[in-house]
């Protein structure tokens, strides 16, 4: 039955997250970007919202809610409405937790899921993206070579969030024998894992991301996610596409609402600039693109939750959201005129953050 109504739980969750985004994240977002530094207290508060413990099974001490991509998309949008860097930081434990939850062996789950029930954010991350201009998630350059009960990892990863402070990371690599992409649960103490210096990006400047080198980094074969069965890699790629699309919608909405309110207040030629069709139409088109991108994201998420093949929907939603967020955040800067270019105002930050989405892969997960 067609419906666009959130469940009561989803309604309550989005309201909580919106309050956090507005009251806790917004006030610190500007300085966090300028200082390239995550405000730990706010990240901690984000962790305490309990998004991840909610989906850890009860027998392991969690709340046992089903992992829902729709709920995840709703949450991601609200968090990104606050700030993209902080949203990515708060959601980063999911990059490790959700694949583990979905595909981990009983032993892997029992050993590692308790990490997500601690009082501080789990020190984990995931490494998918690789440097260079031609990234293809299905043709990873990082390789995994099985030798007996050991696996050697070789290659370079990029855009790995919070890598320097992570004790565990999920590393995606292509089997040098079969060409199949697998994921490996790797501890930071493993020899041959070299976290390089922090990356310098156009946006998401508050979020520390790193390049990582793997030089014959050797782990037990038992570290392969899901053991012999492995994982459903296409489904995981779709889960991250949906997450990124939802985050893009959140960034776009932040920019749009600010521009809308500004245009109603800013007076030129004796009236608010919003009373000119040139401005009003720009805002109207932004509003339409935001809603369209959100609906596409929801549809892809809904398919994922039904366990259906959702590649087409997830790819199109991500592609659409990539374009929408750029269109909307650019309109946001344009609406503010010269002030749009001044860093005291948030519009240019949203444009810098929004521009990143086509490049992002593996940075978030629902």
């Amino acid at each position: 039955m067609v419906s666009f109504t959130l469940t009561e739980d989803q309604q309550a969750l989005t309201e909580t997250l919106r309050r956090y985004a507005v009251n806790d994240v917004r006030p610190v977002a500007h300085d966090a970007d300028e200082d390239s530094k995550l405000p730990q207290a706010v990240v901690q508060k984000g962790w305490e919202l309990g998004l991840i413990p909610a989906v850890i099974p009860e027998e392991l001490g969690g709340f046992g809610d089903p992992l829902s991509a729709v709920t995840g998309a709703l949450a991601a949008e609200e968090l990104a409405y606050g700030d993209l860097s902080l949203a990515l930081a708060v959601l980063s434990p999911a990059l490790f937790a959700y694949p583990l939850l979905l595909y981990g062996t009983a032993e892997q789950r029992e050993n590692l899921l308790p990490l997500f029930l601690e009082e501080t954010p789990a020190p984990v991350t995931a490494a998918l993206l690789e440097p260079g201009i031609f990234f293809d998630a299905h043709e990873l350059q990082t390789t995994a070579t099985h030798e007996g009960d050991k696996v050697r990892l070789n290659g370079t990863k990029a855009y790995v969030p919070l890598a320097a402070e992570s004790h565990w990371m999920l590393v995606y690599a292509r089997s040098s024998e079969t060409g199949v992409v697998e994921a490996y649960l790797v501890e930071d103490s493993v020899a041959g894992v070299q976290v390089e210096s922090r990356e310098k990006l156009m946006g998401i400047r508050a979020l520390p991301t790193y390049r990582i080198n793997f030089n014959d980094a050797t782990v037990d074969a038992a570290c392969k996610l899901g053991g012999v069965v492995g994982m459903d890699y296409p489904a995981l790629l779709n889960r991250q596409r949906v997450a990124l699309a939802a985050l893009a919608v959140g960034v776009a909405r932040a920019s749009f609402e600010y521009a809308r309110d500004y245009a109603k207040q800013r007076v030129q030629f004796g009236k608010p600039i919003a009373q000119n069709q040139a401005i009003a139409f720009m805002l109207a088109e932004s509003a339409i693109e935001i809603d369209a991108a959100r609906l596409m994201t929801w549809e892809a998420a809904w398919k994922l939750d039904r366990g259906e093949e959702a590649t087409r929907e997830a790819v199109l939603a991500k592609q659409y959201a990539d374009k929408a967020v750029l269109f909307v955040t650019d309109n946001g800067v344009q609406t503010l005129g010269g002030y749009g270019f001044i860093r005291e105002y948030p519009a240019e930050r949203w444009l810098r953050n929004g521009r990143g989405f086509p490049a992002f892969a593996g940075l978030a997960m629902v």
Partner: protein, 417 residues
């Protein structure tokens, strides 16, 4: 409730039947009717009339009977069904679809504001008989397009005979000829009872076929949807019974202005349905394009990174994404209608998006199909001409963008015009 995109089983079954009708009675005649403008799609009309007649009968029964309070209330799917019906029929042929023998927009107005007596008097004809009957809506005039408040057609009450006397000219009336000259149909005519009152004086009147002084004066020749009957109608001292007015005859202004508000409220239902029509044409073009590309060995590999896609693959994916965006915006506006929520904003969003998307998708299909896209041998060029109407009627893209802008900015028409 929860977020859900599932189309109920019984509607999916309806879709299969409608697709069959489209394949059998629309597609084979698409080209012929496009080349012979003003010819009638008789195969389609004959096939669909008995079905519509039964549906109209059921609708009429619901409209006139008192609802049983003990009957469990199921969520309505009336508009969802209608949306997908319109989408599929437009996929078949947008021009032929518009010749659907039904009360159409005229019916919506009567259903919305008519008295029980009026509903029976005016709508029964659409629910019985061997011959198809059409309804139509006449709003636009040469000097009143988007600005409906500029309507000049007048209605004067004649106390001596207890009649309304209509004078003026209406244009761009869809199925007006079918309603007035080729069936025992009717047209809802918007006229002013007091020109000085602006919107407050605007009232809808029911004009039945055979009314003296009412004449179809021109059948337009058009860019696309050529199978659709688009006419100009003149009214010269056309006399209709006093109780053929829909709603009150009082001149109303401000919040009490139900006449104009009534007209605007019908847009909340009609705009998403126009959007649905746009989606059908867009899907027809995209499906055909993909079919031809497949024949040439070109598939669309979702999930392949951008740098590995060809320009054609990128174009097709963008067309698909745009069409999906328009579909979902339409689905939302429709779901809100079924839930009886105010959807003016969402209806205009869907309409403007779908209009733009069908325009772009069909133009792109013509381009990508090369010399064959431009050829009248295939239907691609026709779909491009047909698709364009969706950016124009039921409010141009610009008017609908203006509606969206006013809503999001919380501006009145005086603050943003």
């Amino acid at each position: 409730m929860t977020i859900d995109f599932e189309i109920p089983e019984f509607i999916q079954q309806q879709q299969a039947m409608v697709e069959y009708i489209a394949q059998a009675t629309m597609r084979p005649y698409s080209r012929e009717l496009d080349e012979n403008e003003h010819a009638r799609p008789t195969a389609f009309i004959d096939q669909i009339w008995p079905i519509l007649k039964e549906q109209q009968k059921a609708t009429l029964r619901k409209l006139t009977e008192t609802p049983d309070p003990n009957k469990p209330k199921r969520p309505s799917t009336t508009y969802l069904r209608l949306m997908l019906l319109v989408e599929m029929l437009s996929w078949g042929d947008a021009g032929i679809y518009l010749c659907l023998p039904s009360a159409a927009l005229g019916g919506s107005a009567i259903e919305a504001v008519g008295t029980p007596e009026q509903k029976i008097r005016f709508l029964t004809r659409f629910a019985e008989g061997d011959k198809p009957v059409w309804g139509a809506m006449a709003m636009t005039e040469p000097g009143a397009g988007s600005d409906t408040s500029a309507i000049q057609t007048s209605a004067r009450y004649d106390e001596a005979t207890d009649e309304w006397v209509l004078n003026g000219e209406k244009i761009f009336c869809t199925s007006g000829g079918l309603a007035l000259e080729e069936s025992d149909g009717l047209v809802i005519v918007w006229a002013t009872v007091d020109r000085s009152a602006g919107r407050g004086g605007m009232k809808p009147f029911v004009v039945e076929a055979g009314t003296p002084g009412v004449k179809v004066v021109k059948a337009e020749i058009k860019h696309g949807i050529r199978a659709s009957d688009t006419v100009a109608i003149s009214f010269q001292d056309a006399r209709i019974p006093a109780d053929n007015i829909l709603g009150s005859s009082e001149v109303q202004t401000g919040a009490g202005n139900k006449g104009f508000k009534g007209a605007m409220a019908t847009f909340d239902a009609s705009r998403p349905l126009v959007a649905a029509g746009a989606l059908g044409v867009g899907r027809a073009a995209l499906e055909f394009l993909k079919e031809k590309l497949t024949e040439s060995g070109i598939e669309i590999p979702y999930g392949t990174p951008y740098h590995k896609l060809t320009a054609i693959q990128r174009d097709v994916m963008e067309m698909e994404a745009d069409l999906k965006a328009a579909y979902l915006l339409t689905l939302r506006a429709i779901a809100m209608l079924d839930e009886k929520l105010n959807n003016s904003l969402e209806a205009s969003m869907a309409k403007v998006k779908a209009g733009k998307v069908v325009t772009r998708v069909t133009q792109k299909a013509v381009e990508l199909l090369g010399p064959m896209g431009y050829s009248r041998e295939w239907l691609a060029e026709k779909w491009m001409r047909d698709g364009k109407i969706n950016s124009l009627y039921e409010g141009t893209d610009q008017i609908n963008t203006l509606v969206v802008a006013r809503r999001i900015l919380e501006y009145s028409r005086n603050e943003l015009s």
